[in-house]
């Protein structure tokens, strides 16, 4: 049963599957064992001298040799580990207890509590920890408990800061709001909903501090502080080894290895957990200069390809069409997963005429954005793209090297995305981004580029171009940032613009303006626009033609007017019926049952069959090919004509 493990437990599970973490766990486990039961593990008394066997190399009797007084080194290491580990654990416990309490109080309550804790953190961060610890060691008369507790206090500042940050973030989470609405008491909100968010990073930090504490403890005892000079703690062992370094360098080896392994093990545990926590895994957006060649995805059905490429569902057309700005045939995008290579876009064919707005529509998870990225050549690693052919404004890019292909981006084909605020580099002004792009795409001088940038900003409808030119992205509103992103896309005078949900994050009045701008640019520059959207209103507003995607396939294509008036696929019909209509107030919406299947669950036959009211036995037996509904209007449905003949799916909104 999936989903019955908490995310934190799942992260721990992922963590212990890393070989480095396993080795680290074994080492730490061993260390704990020998430090708790040194008498059991040590072959000799650590203080027992044998002047007849000094400086012996490793042998069967003394695995790690003997020191200047003939004492067994392994035994000394084992007995020395006890104090080291106790000290490190004490430090960590003090740091975590103080840090967590202060951090939670500061983060959850804010205000004065927050200011006080911030000051505490600031003061502690202003003293070099080791300097204080050395002083404390002296004052306390080498009391190791006091020393390590003080070190814990020093470390608590970092923990308090970490917990405070996580708590502040958690305080604004919606489920914390839900708990507050329910009237849950503050302590319970903190222990139940806030603290669990902090545990992952906290444990990571605790491991790193254990490593630090170990090093500091060893440094102290190396200086003769903190421990009884008689005890074989590890710093002392280094100190003794250095006395004989010239004649007996071997003595440095066992103690060095023990220290390094231990610190490394704690660090590995911390790093291993950090990388396993769910929020820390993100894909690179930077495309590789050597794209991956993938095997055939496992979830693709074998289809007979027809000569004109209709298998991917594009309107049949002449083989050479001068008017085509974009011509994609049998495009497949796949990602390697546990279950093998899995396609997310399956044998898609698309075309767009010059100056046309092609709408690519569907729900999330249908592969529409991935199709757009594949056309641009920006599928993130480890994705792989295969295609019979992809041509962009007459350039056949599917057979190009990545280097040649990169040259077309910006100049022949450009893109604007969904989140304008994060689409711009926060460290550079809008102006410098435009100047950089103009210099790269048009080879302009700096001053030419600046003048052109201001022209472009005016062109995208910005009233005060100079002010925007000098602004950083975080100073712009969403609508303004999207205009800058459009200006950026125009720097290379592209023939094709891919607009991936360009208005989804914007207010509806701003959306209208951005759509107006896109249509104006289409008219004035003759640009072809591929508009990826889930909004049927937007599609009806600006789309000339439409391709509907479902589960990685194009399932219907045609002119916007045809597809809206006579949807030839039950899914398209279902989409149109799901739009709430003011005229139908109070009625239930005709919502399709179920949801889009995940790529790994795609069936062999029609992928929509499971949710379809028109399902027939033939639907699930073999992949469904395109049926022509009208001229230029195709549907991947065995009942396409019947579906199209039913009266309009969406009662036409009356003219207002």
């Amino acid at each position: 049963m999936t989903g019955t493990r908490s995310p934190f437990r799942a992260a721990l599970g992922a963590m212990v599957r890393r070989p480095a973490v396993v080795v680290a766990l074994v080492w730490v486990g061993l260390l704990v064992l020998i430090s708790v039961f040194p008498d059991f593990f040590a072959p000799y008394d650590p203080l027992k001298q044998d002047l007849s066997a000094i400086f012996e190399p490793p042998s069967a009797t003394h695995w790690l040799g003997t020191d200047n007084l003939g004492r067994d080194i392994l035994s000394r290491l084992i007995f020395g580990s006890t104090g080291m580990l106790q000290g490190a654990v004490l430090t960590a416990v003090v740091a975590v207890v103080i840090g967590v309490v202060l951090g939670l109080v500061a983060g959850y309550f804010g205000g004065w509590a927050d200011s006080a804790v911030s000051f505490y953190v600031n003061v502690l961060l202003s003293v070099p920890g080791f300097v204080i610890i050395v002083t404390v060691a002296f004052i306390s008369g080498n009391n190791v408990v006091v020393i390590m507790a003080s070190l814990g206090v020093v470390f608590s500042s970092a923990i308090a800061r970490l917990v405070r940050g996580s708590t502040q973030a958690a305080r604004n989470l919606l489920y914390v709001d839900s708990a507050r609405v329910s009237g849950l008491s503050t302590p319970r909100i903190i222990t139940r909903h806030v603290f669990p968010n902090v545990t992952g990073p906290l444990i990571v930090q605790t491991f790193l501090f254990l490593a630090q504490a170990f090093l500091i403890l060893a440094s102290l005892s190396f200086l003769g502080l903190g421990f009884d000079p008689q005890s074989p703690d590890w710093g002392q062992l280094v100190q003794q080894a250095t006395q004989e370094i010239n004649d007996h360098p071997w003595l440095m080896v066992p103690i060095g290895a023990a220290l390094i392994f231990t610190v490394l093990a704690f660090n590995q545990l911390g790093a291993g957990l950090r990388e396993s926590l769910p929020q820390n895994r993100r894909e690179s957006m930077l495309v590789s200069d050597r794209p991956r060649v993938a095997p055939k995805p496992a979830n693709l059905a074998d289809r007979a390809l027809t000569p004109d490429g209709t298998s991917g569902l594009a309107a049949p057309r002449e083989l050479v069409d001068e008017d085509l700005a974009l011509d994609v045939r049998d495009l497949t995008v796949s990602f390697p997963q546990d279950a093998g290579e899995i396609a997310v876009v399956d044998t898609v064919s698309l075309h767009a005429k010059r100056g046309e707005v092609l709408g690519l529509v569907g729900e999330s998870g249908c592969g529409k954005s991935m199709t757009a990225l594949a056309v641009l050549g920006l599928v993130p690693a480890p994705g792989a793209v295969q295609a019979a052919s992809v041509s962009i404004a007459g350039h056949v890019v599917s057979s190009m090297s990545e280097k040649d292909r990169a040259r077309l981006r910006g100049r022949t084909i450009a893109m604007i995305g969904q989140e304008p605020m994060v689409a711009l580099d926060p460290c550079f002004t809008a102006g410098s981004a435009l100047v950089e792009a103009l210099r790269a795409n048009r080879g302009m001088s700096r001053s030419e580029a600046k003048a052109t940038a201001l022209e472009l900003l005016t062109k995208v409808g910005i009233a005060r171009p100079m002010a925007v030119f000098q602004s950083y992205p975080h100073q712009l509103s969403g609508g303004m940032a999207q205009r800058v992103a459009i200006a950026l896309a125009l720097t290379g005078k592209p023939e094709i613009l891919i607009a991936d949900e360009p208005t989804t994050a914007l207010d509806v009045t701003i959306q209208a303006e951005i759509l107006d701008l896109l249509l104006d640019l289409r008219d004035s520059e003759g640009m072809t626009i591929v508009l990826v959207t889930h909004d049927l209103g937007v599609l009806a507003d600006v789309g000339d033609r439409v391709a509907v995607m479902y589960a990685g396939e194009i399932i219907e294509t045609g002119t916007t007017a045809d597809v809206f008036a006579r949807p030839g696929h039950p899914y398209t019909r279902g989409l149109l019926a799901a739009v709430p209509d003011a005229a139908a107030e109070g009625d239930r919406l005709a919502a399709l049952p179920g949801r889009v299947p995940l790529p790994r669950d795609w069936p062999t036959g029609c992928r929509f069959a499971e949710r379809c009211a028109f399902r027939m036995p033939a639907c699930t037996q073999a992949p469904v090919d395109a049926t022509i509904v009208d001229a230029g209007h195709l549907s991947r449905c065995l009942a396409a004509r019947e579906v199209a003949a039913i009266s309009p799916a969406h009662p036409s909104t009356e003219e207002r």
């Binding site: 989903g3 908490s6 995310p7 709001d177 609405v181 009233a463 509806v508 303006e513 949801r595 909104t653």
Partner: protein, 338 residues
């Protein structure tokens, strides 16, 4: 249907502290008044920065109002301590926008769902497990969901869990703050149907907060249109949609594209003939109407004087076009609000 008032918000003001040192606080909600009757759905619609979510949070007790009054079930709940909050929460619940952060990923669905019952304690606690199972069935989730963690559910399923959670204590009012905005088209329709079915069965009221006017119109009996913390217009949902009075409502409505290419072509042409771009819009006046800089029908008075709420038919509009001296002849004489 009962007509008793369930929630009454009067002259509500909410302020956020200023961003800089000693800078003036930002007034997110500025003198908002509306009512919700038992079993009714009231839609709160506006763009980002309109204060719609802030109003919801103030009603939920998550924010301390700077002024005005919130009355729920006949009791003043403007300022509440935890005991009052617990009292109120027995009849008031919320469903939030982001299905990915509205459920604690580290707690099983079952534990999340019994939480409101737990807080109420005593009688509510008994039979919690059976209640959770039946609620999950009511919202169309499999029985084994109780032992699973939220990350293994889709966005739509999580929103169903949030709905089931809010129902566990039989509330009288549910605040839906952008509850369906993050969902896909079909999932959204499924959840809207569920919300409607549950309301018909159990008779609670919704405060439905959203930025999407057609959806608000679809679910609500009455609509309140907000702009920059002020009410522009309110009235029966269909009336506001079909004969919007305030220029802002008209602009909002004109900006929403309808999923019909033929109709939309006409609407687009009409909108472009009247549109004022925000690119040229100035800052809104401190006094006066906040919409003045973007208003196609702006008058000099709009910059200096705050419009009063004027009843026009069943609608109430805050606009100088409908002020005492400017009332167009064709508008029917005002009807006093019931």
């Amino acid at each position: 249907m009962e007509t008793e008032t369930l929630l009454k918000v009067e002259d509500l003001r909410v302020e956020y502290p200023g961003t800089g040192w000693r800078s003036a606080p930002f007034r997110a909600v500025d003198g908002v008044s509306f009512e919700i009757r038992r079993g009714e759905t009231v839609g709160l619609v506006g763009e980002s920065g309109s204060g719609k979510s802030t109003i919801g949070r103030a009603v939920l007790g998550l924010l301390e109002p700077a002024g005005g009054r919130i009355e729920f079930g006949g009791h003043d709940v403007t300022h509440r301590d935890r005991a009052t909050q617990r009292q109120v929460s027995r009849r008031l619940q919320a469903i939030f926008q982001d299905p990915y952060s509205s459920l604690n990923p580290a707690r099983t669905v079952g534990r999340t769902m019994v939480e409101p019952l737990e807080v109420q304690g005593g009688a509510a606690r008994a039979g919690a497990v059976e209640k959770v199972a039946s609620l999950l069935a009511d919202v169309g989730l499999p029985e084994d969901s109780t032992d699973r963690y939220p990350p293994s559910f889709s966005g739509g399923q999580r929103q169903r869990i949030a709905i089931a959670r809010s129902l566990s204590i039989s509330p009288q009012l549910i605040i839906c703050d952008e509850a369906v905005s993050a969902l896909d088209l079909v999932t959204r329709a499924q959840v809207l149907n569920l919300l409607g079915d549950l309301q018909r069965e159990r008779g609670f009221a919704y405060l439905f907060i959203a930025h999407d006017l057609p959806i608000v119109t679809y679910v609500s009996q009455r609509t309140v249109v907000l702009y920059r913390g002020r009410i522009m217009e309110q009235g029966p949902a269909r009336a506001v949609h079909e004969s919007p009075l305030h220029p802002y409502t008209q602009m909002l409505l004109a900006a929403v594209p309808v999923p019909d290419p033929a109709v939309q072509r006409v609407r687009r042409a009409r909108r472009r003939a009247t549109a004022v771009s925000t690119g040229t819009a100035a800052q809104p006046p401190a006094e006066g109407c906040p919409f003045a800089p973007r208003c196609p029908k702006v008058m000099s008075r709009c910059w200096t004087q705050r419009p009063e709420a004027v009843p026009v038919g069943e609608q109430v509009v805050e606009c100088h076009l409908f002020g005492p001296s400017n009332r167009p002849a064709w508008v029917p004489s005002p009807v006093v609000r019931p």
